[in-house]
Symmetry: C2
Subunit: 377 residues, 2 copies
């Protein structure tokens, strides 16, 4: 990655993704959860090379849209490796996915379930339950998932509609810093399993969702801590009746594999003299959408590291007042920093390039370059 940046000196801003890192992360998770089906959350980084790399490793895929299904198929994924994980789907998009061979669908509402039953007959469905997102840097709010008792109703109805009522999913929130958070979801899943069993329906699968972290400024526990807590919860609630497992890592697989290279546009003094403002050529609207609310705080590396530092406000290049990255979060950067200098945002591989606008304020989308750290050595 460093070689690529040093030799190619690509125009900024740009994202560079190391496929070797992606492989390492996938294998690490494969080893840690050997019996779980790993569905890469394509939305985290839909770069074709990343998807293709994961196809080669035998991954499955969690997709949100027809566009993501097409991408996975184009990269060689088998239709049966695809999980249509968005509970919000047009009826004709469900039909299209079914025609393409997709047979696994998330749901959380009667309306969506009725569509699946009609245009994707016999498919497997899992029902998403709403769980506490405490500990997540980007919690989900109430948009997705239903109550466990509603999930029981929907899954029983799914069976009665001729579908394969497969299991339960939940999402404890992305960039989840508390390994014990999965307990909420596994407990809720167990309740849905029990409720369905009372009606003669034996569920078989628990989808643990995403939430595994990347390395931002706040330290996150190691993978082993997450896995231990998840295993404890599974033992507690399911014991010997351990269900099939599915996980949907996105950020964990690709976050740390990316470096976003940017250039300092200007360094100015603020009106009140409190902090310098450092304006980068990357901002909220060309790749750093997750700085909204300062939720994701990237680690930074500059071409003047080592010089004395001082507090800064960091902002993007557009004429938009909301295009400010970090104002409350304390960042310190070299006092020598000036226009033309380089600032790298580390662990920026997830939820960056695909968020970038088509051209807000005339600034184009963030390009992505893939390198392979193993091949270069």
């Amino acid at each position: 990655m460093q070689q690529f940046l040093d030799r190619q000196r690509p125009e900024t801003p740009c994202l560079v993704v190391d496929l070797a890192q992606v492989r390492n992360r996938y294998r690490q998770l494969r080893t840690a959860l050997p019996d779980a089906r790993i569905c890469y959350a394509v939305k985290a980084n839909p770069t074709p090379e990343v998807v293709g790399e994961l196809v080669g490793l035998g991954a499955s895929f969690d997709v949100a849209s027809p566009g993501e299904i097409d991408l996975c198929l184009a990269e060689g994924a088998a239709p049966e490796s695809i999980s249509y994980g968005n509970t919000i789907k047009k009826r004709r998009d469900v039909a299209r996915a079914y025609e393409q061979g997709v047979r696994l669908f998330a749901t959380d509402s009667a309306a969506d379930l009725a569509n699946i039953a009609e245009v994707a007959p016999g498919s497997q469905v899992f029902c998403r339950v709403l769980v506490d997102n405490t500990g997540s840097r980007t919690p989900f709010g109430r948009k997705f998932g239903c109550l466990p008792e509603t999930a029981v109703e929907l899954l029983v109805r799914a069976r009665d509609l001729g579908l394969d009522a497969f299991g339960v999913s939940f999402h404890i929130g992305s960039q989840q810093l508390e390994p014990e958070a999965w307990e909420h979801g596994i407990d809720a899943a167990r309740r849905v399993f029990a409720g369905c069993a009372e009606q003669g329906l034996r569920l078989r699968m628990v989808n643990l969702g995403g939430g595994l972290p990347a390395a931002y400024t706040q330290s996150a526990p190691p993978l082993a801590d997450y896995v231990r807590r998840i295993e404890q919860s599974l033992d507690r609630h399911f014991g010997a009746e351990r269900p099939e497992l599915l996980v949907e890592p996105g950020r964990f697989v690709v976050g740390d594999a990316g470096v976003l290279r940017s250039e300092v546009v200007l360094v100015t003094d603020a009106c009140d003299g409190e902090s310098r403002w450092v304006y980068l050529d990357i901002g909220r609207y060309n790749g750093l959408a997750e700085t909204e609310g300062e939720a994701i705080t990237y680690r930074l590396r500059t071409s003047r590291d080592g010089d004395p530092v001082g507090p800064v406000v960091l902002a993007g290049p557009t004429c938009d007042g909301d295009d400010v990255l970090y104002q409350r979060t304390r960042y310190e950067l070299p006092r020598t920093l000036r226009g033309g200098d380089r600032v790298d945002l580390l662990s920026a591989g997830a939820y960056t390039a695909s968020y970038s606008s088509v051209g807000f304020n005339g600034f184009g989308p963030l390009p992505t370059y893939c390198v392979d750290g193993d091949q270069q050595q």
Copy 2:
């Protein structure tokens, strides 16, 4: 517009812009402020046909980036009609603009001013001051503008660096619902004029910025109220020494000219039974970025208008928990609404399509179609 939607039935979501409305708005402003130079804020809607239409009407242009300069020139704008209004500019982008013939630049910092003086010698500069944004639905925060006393220093320095220290700009916040808000900026401008005069520098221009509203759910005063207040403030602070004026309307010119057509993906009941959730195929990441914080509340029209209504939460189609449009703002929609129905968002011509992501969650950018209401009649 209605004809186009009825006959062409374009795939949703899409934005349709009526160029006749754009013309009307430009002429309305031309009449109301006959001696002001009207610089269309390209960022509001950079559709080439919109820019081309305004070139034909003799408009000037407020641009934020090299990309917007290229766009204006490609549509036939003269370089001298372009105001580089972004105070955050790379040095090489200033040089490029100068080579293209641009001779008018905003600034608000010593670093940017030094760049302009070096690579755009002799150009006109205006200095942006920070003003109170009360009354704006999308206030700017502290990203842009300096204190009036700093502006005096910068403008005097500009003169000393061989630049033409032209005047002062401010922005009272976009979608400004209080016509008296311009008083803050005109008062600040007068102070900068006075401060410069003390040092033998006679400024000539006040840039009134943007802020004129489009018609969302909250009613906005008519244009005449804004113009009357602005004229009163100018009289109060400048009297017979009336400066040249420049305005930067974006939303006012193109906001009401656009209709965003979307389709209902699903209608579901919320977990707690409070409100239905209506999911559209348009959301935060494919065009409705200004629903962040529910700042801009679009008027809606559905294919079931007339049926009894009930409260809804409105959300977009992605797997993102933040892709919720209106949860606190009370919206009521027909109880009969269901998947496949049409929902039009009115006055959606500004700050929509250009904000849309390249493909977050696999959903593509919002396409724009231009029609001409005059030609069709």
